[in-house]
Symmetry: C2
Subunit: 119 residues, 2 copies
Amino acid sequence: MVFKAEESGHEVTAIFNGVSLDSLNNYSFLKEISLKLLKESGFNILESSEHVFQPQGYTFMVLLSESHFALHTYPEYNSIYFHLYTCRKRDTEKIFSTLKEIFNPKEVVLRKEVVRVKF
Amino acid sequence: MVFKAEESGHEVTAIFNGVSLDSLNNYSFLKEISLKLLKESGFNILESSEHVFQPQGYTFMVLLSESHFALHTYPEYNSIYFHLYTCRKRDTEKIFSTLKEIFNPKEVVLRKEVVRVKF
């Protein structure tokens, strides 16, 4: 049987503003907590890649069976950008509410989009 | 001098619907043309990863100095999803207009968002 994707994908973009530099610059924690939350929400991790920028900044990307996840830190603005795209229904609410509890941002700008992939 | 990101990031999501299976399933071409267009628009490629799904489907992700790029094919719907996020001003128009010329989709759904990363 050929796998058939759902007719709509789900995209979540979140900006966490006003995050403390201590938690924002803890790259290994950012990576581990992202992988943990993705797994707990039923995502299947295929591969991940990361880059530590000099003198500051971090990018982490995850290739999922269900599409992809990415985060970028902005230490100069105390901000983190998160992006998650999934072609299968998953509990993305839990991921972002838990990240919010952990990183305690002063402001969260969250945008969700339903992406229709069937013509 | 510490690099200071621009205060706004730019996100482009494009769905190409009605793409022929021949071009959609040509993974090496999808990869090469994406890298070529990103480079031509001034993006700096740091790392890329890809996954060929069984029995069908392809994901390609690129970690950029300027953030990230991702694509996912939906052969079951003749569609390709593209996502590009850049923390620095780049000519993203050219990338998507050229992709459109090449893949000749019956429909394009393009969404652009300005993402404010400064609190």
